[in-house]
Amino acid sequence: MINTTPMDGASPLFKSEIVIVYAIALKMLLGDRLKYFGLIAGIAFAAMLIAQQASILVGFTKQTGAFIRDTAQADLWIMDPQVRFSQDHIPLREIMVHTVRGTPGVQWAVPLFQGFVRARMPDGTNFTLILVGLDDSSLTGAPPLMVEGALTDLRRDRAVFIDAGTSAKKLRMKNGGNRPMQVGDTFSIMDHQAYIAGSYRSRTSFFWEPVLYTTYSRALTFAAGGDRNLLSYVMVKLLPDASLEQTRALLQQRTGLAARTNEEFIQLTADYILNETGILMNFGFAILLGFAIGSLVAGQTFYNFTLDNLRHYGTLKAMGVSNRTLAGMLFLQVAVVSVLGYGIGVGMGSALGLLMSSAGLAFSMPWQIPAITALAILLVSLLASWFSLRRVFALEPAVVFKG
């Protein structure tokens, strides 16, 4: 009459018991609006914190490489070995362009200038900008999209391009002009007159200074009167059948300079900036904190939920529900709130992030972030249910019997 075999879990009857008891578990969960919403809010909060903080960190990381990605028309960047990040200006000898061109495996090579210069707006506002000089003949390395004007407008006399996305904020005349600089304006860069011939759109950059594009030789004139070696980078396109490593080794041997791929340069820049600015530490800490707080909130909420329901689990246990089934019930409850909370959390994180990124702030969510968030939430849920389960398994009769 009494089935005492421990293998009762294999019987189909046991399964039907589970199905029915699961329904009870769900009813327990959905029964209390306050606790149900509290649980979901806790998990959602945790998921949002983790996903959002991580996305901001990834966003910052991506922003540090924005210039390289914008300019990534070639395969290799030739630079001084001491260069630490993409805005680090350590000049090369200009003839290096030709040395690079003469290296086997190189299809073409063009010079690129990039450096900080001081400028003055018509109303007298002083500002620092990042000047990018593109190879005069090919204009290789141009920003991704032109908003006003065409790329070839850069060949016009004294022409520079401004960033259409950020000029309203970063190129604002503050000393009386009280408007952003626009196409058609003239201003002076290191006492040389410059004419805004067009505007472009590019990736949001980590660096605050506005980025202006001009031609290489004009950039040299602007930057130092044209009489010094100011070549920042040589951009190298490899022949389709050339071996990257062989060509790179040859280039490094012939020029004595470093040759980096776009990805390596992005990595170098990101590493330097994240470490030097402390962003990595801060955000790593923020993510951990988010994870800890979120986990604590979610775990605590769920643990409390279990504690509140401990008498009911005890009652069920007294009425013959096995530990295994109770565990199943708990897991089901955890799973439901976790999945629902996770969805709402990452949704809120994404929505906030999209809002933020449309406001120009750092946000980028590769698929790994929701995945890692899911893992983290799973971990929290498992931990919470494990603690809860211990209480349910070690059920004191007093819990059931006392009022």
């Binding site: 009459m1 005492t4 421990p6 009762d8 009857l13 029964g31 009425m319 009769p397």
Partner: protein
């Protein structure tokens, strides 16, 4: 010690039952050698001050708690040797529980609450709900089948709990202070119900209480003090009969 007033094979038979909590210097002896027999159709009350070991004793008898030493045969099963998982199943089938705080699942309707023991016994849901409705009718709650516990009065909730305890026809009912949360009148009604519905099918009841007003419902009253049964009082059948007619 009084002599056994009821004949036949005892449903519960405890001999020198001991239960210790903790170990070493902190060890507390909750049961210090209980000898108790409960017979079919008998309503046994356990009374005594708080902390005397009443709850521990019914926990052991109901198979919720492991005893430390002694012997405890319940419905032919030696609980001290029965494995935990098997005991859980055994409990689900053989024991009905009535709790002081009713312990109804607040999110389930009366019928669903009553159906739980049947669901645990793997009855199909529709059949379980049908039997639960029948049982609720027998305790006088035919109208409130779909009500949630919060919508019922204390007495009604306890009647739902009694229906739940009885629905799977267990031979032994364990009741923990079933009337202490109720007023005198309602408590009396609940005891009447227990007395009538439970013992009519030759079912045994163990009722833990310290409510002296319901003592007349008992066949026998075991007084427990400090982990030991000090004496067992026996009510005359006349008194029992009278108590049933008072309400």
């Amino acid at each position: 010690m009084s002599l056994l007033s009821t004949s036949g094979t005892p449903v519960v038979s405890c001999r020198q039952l001991r239960k210790n909590f903790g170990s070493g210097e902190n060890q507390v002896q909750a049961l210090r050698g209980i000898n108790l027999d409960i017979y079919p159709g008998e309503l046994m009350m356990l009374v005594g001050p708080s902390g005397c070991g009443k709850t521990t004793l019914i926990s052991v008898i109901a198979g919720i708690l492991d005893a430390s030493a002694g012997e405890c045969q319940v419905l032919g099963e030696n609980l001290l040797t029965l494995a935990s998982a098997a005991r859980t199943q055994w409990r689900g089938k053989q024991i009905g529980f009535v709790f002081q705080a009713y312990n109804l699942l607040p999110t389930l309707t009366a019928a669903e609450n009553v159906a739980i023991p049947l669901l645990v016994q793997k009855l199909p849901r529709s059949q379980a709900l049908k039997q639960a409705a029948e049982m609720l009718q027998r305790v006088g709650l035919a109208e409130r089948i779909q009500a949630l516990p919060a919508q019922l009065s204390g007495g009604q909730q306890q009647r739902v709990a009694i229906a739940r305890a009885l629905v799977h026809q267990p031979p032994l009912l364990v009741c923990d202070e079933p009337t202490s949360a109720l007023d005198h009148h309602t408590g009396h009604q609940v005891m009447e119900l227990l007395r009538r519905v439970a013992t009519s099918a030759n079912r045994s009841l163990i009722v833990v209480t310290h409510d002296a007003r319901i003592f007349p419902f008992a066949d026998r009253i075991a007084h427990i003090e400090d982990g030991l049964i000090t004496h067992i009082a026996e009510n005359s059948p006349a008194l029992i009969k009278e108590s049933l007619h008072v309400a």
